[in-house]
């Protein structure tokens, strides 16, 4: 279904839209307050952008450095060309270690690869341990936001969900009670787990180490208790040196939630004695995106979600309306690269207001890339006949002043003389809830010519 259709369904409940909008605007506003306290914030963004651009230009070298250093540290490194291979590798590691119960700490990459259903098909239990992730997992829904995965659900919905799945008592959406119960439930899962899967926020080529950022400490809990740790990362998560980490940790938390730093920045380098650590490095369409000069900067993304919080369309249409693993503005430039036809409406789910580009901590020109995808989509995917034809007609009118004058005259006359019921009939979507301007008798051209004539006569 198109973004517009899904968005209009979401908009049927205006109160919920208002609540969703306000909740995300609150985060955006908190972000503003925090970044304004950082001297040289704009320089920091430049630096983040520059490091990522340099990394992408030397991606092969840095990935090989990372692999060599990680191996030196005693980590097993695996390479996956696509989602299928990624899932098979993870599955094999779990099988080899007789792991039947897995705890996972928020990883959008495993969402992208649809790892959970793949493992569950072989009776492996996968529990998402981030509270928001767990909520959407219980609801059998995908996350609607990359940092706030359950932002589309209010506390009363969570209350009902927990009653059904965790056997909690009705509590009128009391957040303290609900989080307390979730904590008890998740602690049990941590203790029982045979393996822990985490994502990777930053992988450091120089050291072979990597960092996972969480606000709930769930990555630490999982990894420290389970005998096997599998970290799954996209190829673009590499940063060249340890010293670059400070740049990104400062940018990430502030942009994501308005915190000065994420509560837990967990650094992993080597397996503990008697334990195992694996890293799966995944391409899944990333090098193809890298090969597109206009879109390669989309791989700078550090997954802070700031573009979603700032986007007036995302805030009012909800993450699920994008029908993609990564929703919002950044998702709208990443997704068409994976499946142009399926995601053909996403680059149009924007007014090109540019707020996403200005808020982006690593300066991805998101709105410019949305514009560029539009040009490609109209050429390469089936377009509605009416849209295509009307664009051709408009193009020919605007190339010829005489035609423009004629059409303008008819339009103005119609707006002035036709009954409102005709003007606001079904084909005119504009007129459903908005009035069209009344057509003036004179165009600016007419007025100007008359004025020049009068001047001459004077």
């Amino acid at each position: 279904m198109s973004h517009a259709k899904l968005a209009s369904i979401f908009n049927k409940d205006e109160k919920k839209v208002d609540w969703h909008d306000k909740a995300l605007w609150f985060v955006r506003h908190k972000r503003d307050k925090t970044v304004h306290h950082v001297k040289g914030w704009e320089d920091l963004r430049d630096l983040g952008h520059g490091i990522k651009a340099h990394m992408l230009s030397n991606l092969d070298t840095y990935l090989e450095d990372f692999e060599a250093n990680a191996k030196k540290n005693g980590v097993e490194v695996h390479w996956a060309a696509d989602a299928q291979e990624h899932n098979q590798i993870v599955h094999k590691i779990l099988k080899d270690n007789n792991a039947k119960k897995v705890v996972k700490s928020k990883s959008m990459l495993t969402e992208e690869c649809h790892l959970n259903p793949f493992l569950e098909a072989d009776d492996i239990e996968v529990v998402d341990t981030d509270l928001g992730e767990r909520i959407v997992q219980l609801a059998k829904e995908p996350p609607s936001h990359i940092v706030l995965p359950a932002i589309h659900k209010n506390k009363h919905e969570v209350d009902e969900l927990f009653q059904e799945h965790l056997g909690t008592k009705p509590c009128d959406g009391d957040p303290q009670y609900l989080t307390g119960e979730a904590r008890k439930h998740l602690r049990q899962k941590f203790i029982e787990a045979d393996a822990a899967i985490t994502g990777v926020n930053f992988a450091i080529a120089e050291t072979g180490g990597f960092v996972v950022c969480t606000n709930e400490g769930n990555a630490d809990m999982g990894v420290h208790l389970a005998p096997v740790h599998i970290a799954c990362m996209g190829v673009e998560k590499i940063i060249p040196k340890q010293e670059h980490l400070g740049v990104f940790l400062r940018l990430l938390a502030r942009s994501a939630t308005g915190q000065p730093v994420t509560t837990y920045s967990s650094h992993f380098k080597k397996p503990r004695e008697g334990k195992k650590m694996h890293i799966v490095i995944v391409d899944n369409g990333r090098s193809e995106q890298l090969s597109r000069p206009d879109f390669r900067a989309s791989l700078h993304c550090i997954r802070c979600g700031a573009c979603m919080n700032t986007c007036p369309i995302y805030r009012r249409s909800g993450g699920h309306s994008y029908d993609a693993t990564i929703p919002g503005p950044i998702g709208s430039i990443l997704s068409p690269g994976k499946d142009l036809t399926k995601h053909s409406t996403l680059p149009f789910a924007s007014t090109l207001c540019g707020s996403c580009s200005d808020v982006c901590p690593v300066k991805i020109d998101i709105h410019a890339q949305l514009y560029k995808w539009r040009q490609i989509i109209t050429k390469n995917t089936p377009q509605p006949f009416v849209k295509k034809k009307s664009m051709q007609i408009m193009g020919s009118i605007f190339a010829k002043p005489k035609k423009f004058e004629k059409v303008g005259k008819i339009a103005r006359w119609s707006l002035r003389n036709l009954p409102k019921s005709v003007i606001n009939s079904k084909p005119n979507t504009w007129g459903k809830t908005r009035d069209l301007p009344t057509g003036p008798k004179q165009s600016f051209d007419d007025w100007y010519n008359e004025r020049q004539q009068n001047k001459k006569n004077d």
Partner: protein
């Protein structure tokens, strides 16, 4: 200084009063303005809809109309931005480069080229400014709330000098109104919701008149205000700067 006046297609046909105000204002400021006849459109509607190639005729026509001028001035941030940013689809001849470099949004031109702040206007009303996105984040007609930079706004600098104007602050000072060209139709639900929220913000701060650098945003807001019979007047910035009540 030879100045060419560019009146965008929808202003020409639907809001001629904005064009008149712009011309009169520039003449009041002793600018020698020429309105080249046979103007049409900058090509933006097709290009933003993904049909850039259908806009080539309009782009070439635009350049031919304006190549002889030192400055091209228009009461539309979004059209000026389009010429500057997206005219890379036609060969970059000297004429094209000159036109792209010299196209200005009206307030920007008055403040930064003419270097005039007080235009001698008076308008005793409570005014709320809508900062149209393409002018704001495309042409940087003002500071943007996402970025950590000194605060400024060309439109507000000019309005502050207008006698009697009371500038009313709104909560979300630079959020998009939801127009977005064909977006207003293809994403009707979201577009209307954004417009309604924008109007609510202005009404809550006691605004009597909403103004902007772009008639397209104003057409969308006016459409909602008129349909819902809300107590708000919608005027383009040129109309306020040219008024002398």
């Amino acid at each position: 200084m030879k100045v060419g006046l560019f009146i965008p297609c929808y202003i020409n046909q639907l809001y001629p009063q904005v064009g008149k105000a712009t011309l009169e204002l520039l003449e009041k400021l002793n600018v020698e303005v020429v309105y080249p006849s046979g103007q049409t459109c900058c090509g933006q509607p097709m290009a933003n809809s993904g049909y850039e190639s259908e806009s080539i005729g309009a782009c070439n026509h635009f350049v031919n109309n304006f190549k002889e001028f030192d400055y091209i001035v228009t009461p539309s941030g979004s059209c000026a931005y389009h010429v500057k940013k997206h005219y890379d689809i036609i060969p970059q001849t000297d004429d094209v480069t000159k036109v792209r470099n010299n196209v200005y949004e009206l307030c920007d031109f008055i403040l930064n080229v003419l270097k005039i702040k007080d235009l001698g206007a008076s308008f005793p009303h409570k005014v709320g400014v809508h900062k149209s996105c393409h002018g704001l984040r495309g042409l940087r007609l003002g500071s943007c709330s996402e970025r950590v930079t000194p605060e400024y706004s060309y439109i507000e600098e000019l309005l502050k000098e207008v006698r009697g104007v009371e500038l009313m602050p709104v909560k979300r000072g630079d959020e998009c109104c939801g127009f977005g060209g064909t977006f207003a139709v293809t994403e009707e639900a979201i577009s209307v919701k954004m417009g309604k929220d924008k109007i609510k913000d202005h009404l809550e701060s006691g605004v009597e008149v909403i103004t902007a650098t772009d008639t397209s945003c104003l057409m969308h807001l006016e459409g909602l205000v008129t349909r819902n019979k809300q107590p708000l007047k919608i005027l383009h910035i040129a109309e306020i700067l040219n008024s002398n009540i």
